[in-house]
Symmetry: C2
Subunit: 119 residues, 2 copies
C-alpha cells in the first residue's frame, strides 16, 4: 500500500487569533511548504499534489510547543516553515503564529503530530 502524503499546519491557540488571521497565517505556511517541496523534494510534492494536497490543521498550546514540534520535525528530516506575523493587527510584531510541516509520508509525520488535537 502506498503511504499517503500530507502537510500539517500547527496553529498557536494562546494568541487567540480570529478566523481570518488564522487562515492567512496557515496559508503562508502552506504556500512555503508547497513551494519548497516543489523545488527540493519533487517526489513528495508529486505524491502530495496528485492525491489532493491533503492538509491537516492542528492546535498547539503555545510557542514552546510549536518550537518543540519544529525540533522533532527536523530530527525526522522533515521540512518546516515557521511563520512570524508582521503584527499590524491582533498580535505583537514578530510573533510566531504557526508552523507548516511537510508534505511528508503520513506514517512519518504522524509520529510527531498525531498527538495534537485538530484546530
Amino acid at each position: 500500500m502506498v503511504d499517503e502524503y500530507k502537510l500539517v499546519i500547527g496553529v498557536r491557540k494562546d494568541l487567540d487569533m480570529g478566523k481570518g488571521k488564522i487562515a492567512a497565517q496557515a496559508s503562508h505556511a502552506a504556500v512555503n511548504c508547497a513551494l519548497w517541496a516543489e523545488k527540493h523534494d519533487k517526489k513528495a510534492f508529486k505524491h502530495w499534489e496528485s492525491s489532493g494536497q491533503k492538509k491537516v490543521v492542528i492546535r498547539l498550546a503555545n510557542k514552546d510547543e510549536l518550537m518543540r514540534l519544529k525540533g522533532e520535525s527536523e530530527i525526522l528530516g522533515l521540512f518546516t516553515s515557521v511563520i512570524s506575523d508582521a503584527g499590524f493587527t491582533q498580535v505583537e510584531p514578530g510573533s510566531v503564529t504557526c508552523i507548516g510541516i511537510g508534505p511528508a509520508e503520513e506514517s512519518i509525520i504522524d509520529q510527531i503530530t498525531q498527538k495534537y488535537p485538530l484546530l
Copy 2:
C-alpha cells in the same frame, strides 16, 4: 511607485465552518494560486513573493457571491482557484468553500474585492 501584489482569499460565511476547516480550505486556495503564478505569471509571482506574499482573507455571504466574484475576476484577467470540499466533516460533499484570486496588482484586484469585509 510600484504597485503591491496580493492574493485574496474569499471564504463563504454561510457554511459556518470552524477555524481549522477554514484554515485548511484557505490554504488549498493559496497554494493553488501560488503554484499557478509560479508557472504561468512569473512577474506577478516574483513581485508577490519578494514583498512578503501578502494575503488578505475576505468574507463572502454565500455561493452566489463567490461565483459572482469569480466571474468579475475573470473579466479582469485574474487567475482564480475555487475550492470544493470533499465533505467528510462539517459541510456537504462537493460544497464550494472558498476562492483564491491572484496574486495580482493591488490596484486591479482591489477593484472587485475591496468592498467585502475582512473575515
